[in-house]
């Protein structure tokens, strides 16, 4: 373990990745201070104006919006959209800051649950073998036969809009890789002498799996998981972009990008007028994914002895 941490800190790429991750964690933790919510539901992106058209960075809150807050007797803690507003007057800065929390929630929950399902399925298949193994692996094959994004889109459409539905869909079609990885490593470990000894001593099967096999085989799965957090967040964002993900106005990066979709080309003669509508959300998503990829890439190199000192 120490060796791994040392490697992570020694490698420039993974150091950049870890630093970026730290920044994102801080943004997520201190979101209420960076962008104080003005509504009771902080995940509802605040609107700065009723205008449909995106407004440039530094746009001050419109008069009629100000009037609403004043008549409700609520203090206006932020009256400028630092990054501009997206389609519908949504404050881009606010959406991105609170969207960081959404990203972590989606990434960690989906990866944790799909990893759990994969570990349970994969270790049962590998440990018991025989027809159970065949059955479970054929089920895995079948789940892998639908392109991930298509499957997630279908399930979210059927379940209905909402972030929880998106997460269910991502978990339902995201567990197969873990199952395969854990199955492979348990198959090669279960013939080891210490496992045989435990069996001979009459240790119960589930205890052997949990106490003896998993601790020795789980590391590759964790690496896989760390690399998948970024891609899960991207898939969730892609679903929002397609219009089947988070509900309208929810602080979610994918939705911020989908707001920009209709404006990307700009008015005739003023190409790129609304650059900020896609630039800021894009930067957040890309850096988030990049940070996980950099860390995961290094972990994978450490694990793969063939490439040691090579990449």
């Amino acid at each position: 373990m120490n060796r791994i941490i040392k490697k992570l800190l020694n490698n420039t790429a993974s150091l950049i990745g870890l630093f970026l991750l730290l920044v994102f964690v801080l943004i997520a933790i201190f979101a209420p201070y960076i962008a104080p919510p003005m509504f009771s539901d902080p995940y509802q992106i605040q609107r700065m104006t009723w205008d449909i058209e995106p407004q440039p960075p530094g746009f001050p809150m419109s008069e009629d919006m100000r009037f609403i807050f004043e008549s409700l007797g609520k203090p206006i803690t932020r009256d400028r959209a630092i990054f501009g507003t997206a389609q519908g007057g949504y404050d881009i800065f606010y959406g991105l800051i609170w969207g960081t929390r959404t990203a972590f929630r989606v990434g960690i929950i989906t990866v944790a649950f799909s990893m759990l399902i994969g570990i349970i399925g994969g270790s049962i298949a590998a440990y018991f073998g025989g027809w159970l193994d065949d059955l479970l692996m054929r089920i895995t094959d079948i789940f892998l036969s639908i392109p991930f994004l298509v499957a997630a889109m279908v399930l979210t459409t059927i379940l209905g809009r909402g972030l929880n539905k998106v997460m269910i869909a991502l978990i339902a079609f995201g567990w197969m890789e873990y199952a395969r990885v854990i199955r492979g490593s348990i198959l090669s470990t279960k013939e080891e002498i210490y496992v045989m000894a435990a069996k001979a001593l009459g240790v119960k099967d589930y205890r052997i799996i949990i106490l003896h096999l998993l601790p020795n085989t789980i590391f590759p799965v964790l690496v896989q998981a760390s690399m998948n957090i970024g891609s899960m967040v991207v898939t969730a964002a892609a679903l929002s972009f397609l219009g089947v993900g988070a509900p309208l106005g929810y602080a979610d990066w994918g939705q911020m990008v989908s707001f920009a979709r209709n404006w990307i080309i700009g008015a005739p003669g003023k190409a790129g007028e609304y650059w900020y509508a896609v630039f800021f959300p894009g930067i957040f998503i890309v850096l988030f994914v990049l940070s996980w990829n950099l860390v995961g890439d290094t972990l994978r190199d450490i694990l793969d002895p063939r490439l040691r000192g090579e990449l």
């Binding site: 079948i142 639908i146 994004l149 298509v150 399930l155 979210t156 991207v234 890309v286 090579e310």
Partner: protein, 345 residues
């Protein structure tokens, strides 16, 4: 060899059955009434409870799952996928009409994936740790981290918004007119670029091509960025093998060592990954077509999903799952043909 192919072909129907069953399970999460709505083109029927009940029974939508599944598969075999309100035509018709556009996009995207991915991968490995290698690797990592929908919007922003070169859609209005309303434009393959060439209409060919380039770049870049990494590490491994050292020691030209001796063996694992990447691109079709409003299956599926047009979405998923299963089969078989070690397993 033959037995391997036959074995794979024998498993095929079971996988297809499994996939249809999985999609049926997803479909069954909907209530019978919602499922009924996917079969009729006249929503007013749903307001009449008796008529609706009769139809639910006719389509066996309230049967317990096993029986319901058999009836559903039977209706699929009759190509009765229901009605698509989004396309305002039967789902099967909507699929067959849009399939050529999507196939044109996917098939052309294979070219950059294989050429650029493998070519850059080999260069990167040969110039190991040079500036060139570093630059290629960094581009690949950044490309790997750029989600398709953001990359697509960037391409659209630069090449259409600012430069005005690569417009979205599939054809300009004048060309659409010439192709679909003109009368003397013959559709041989339904691939507009090919048809235009066969009709000797270079202007239409050029128009279709400018509409295709941006979606092709968007759809393929993740795949070639990935392929590049695989090619690079496979090439690096091969270059350190003894037979390469022998060849060099015997004084074989460096170019020959790389292209004749190393590349051939290094590319064996790359072939499977390349095939897999091409199959994986199917998932990106939805986003790419949506970004560029390219009138293929993916764009239609995304619009249907937004409008809760379940029949279309399920039909689309079935088709793509079938395409993926067949694609994987082709990849596996061709890999077995290339690498004789495979069919021993």
């Amino acid at each position: 060899m033959l037995s391997y192919i036959i074995r794979r072909l024998l498993i095929l129907p079971f996988i297809l059955l499994g996939v249809t069953f999985l999609i049926f399970c997803l479909f069954s999460l909907l209530s019978p009434m919602e499922r009924l709505a996917t079969y009729i083109n006249n929503p007013s029927v749903l307001k009449n409870p008796q008529a609706a009940q009769r139809l639910i029974q006719k389509y066996h939508l309230d049967d317990p799952s096993p029986a319901g599944y058999i009836y559903w598969v039977q209706s699929l075999l009759r190509l009765d996928f229901g009605w698509s309100p989004t396309a305002n035509q039967p789902v099967w018709e909507a699929i067959t009409q849009r399939l050529p556009a999507t196939m044109e996009l996917v098939l052309y995207s294979i070219i950059p994936v294989i050429l650029v991915g493998i070519w850059l991968g080999v260069i990167s490995a040969v110039h190991h740790n040079d500036l060139l290698d570093q630059a290629i690797r960094i581009t690949a990592i950044i490309g790997w981290s750029l989600p398709t929908f953001i990359f697509g919007l960037l391409v659209l922003f630069v090449f259409y918004g600012i430069l005005g070169w690569l417009p979205p859609g599939r054809l300009s209005t004048w060309a659409q007119f010439a192709v679909y309303a003109g009368g003397n434009f013959k559709h041989y393959t339904h691939f507009i670029t090919l048809d235009a060439l066969l009709n000797k209409r270079l202007d239409i060919f050029w128009d279709a091509l400018t509409h295709l380039i941006a979606p092709i770049i968007t759809l393929s870049y993740i795949s070639w960025a990935y392929l590049l990494r695989i090619t690079r590490s496979s090439m690096l491994e091969t270059l350190r093998k003894d037979y390469i050292r022998t060849a060099r020691a015997k004084g074989v030209e460096e170019k020959k060592v790389i292209h004749l001796h190393a590349q051939k063996n290094a590319l064996i694992p790359v072939v499977t990954v390349a095939g897999m990447m091409v199959v994986q691109m199917l998932g990106g079709v939805v986003i790419t077509e949506t970004v560029f409003t390219y009138p293929g299956l993916g764009y239609w599926a995304a619009t249907s999903a937004q409008q809760l047009d379940y029949g279309s979405v399920v039909g689309f998923a079935l088709l793509f799952a079938f395409m993926m299963v067949i694609g994987n089969l082709i990849v596996d078989v061709s890999y077995a043909l290339i690498d004789p070690r495979v069919h021993l397993e």
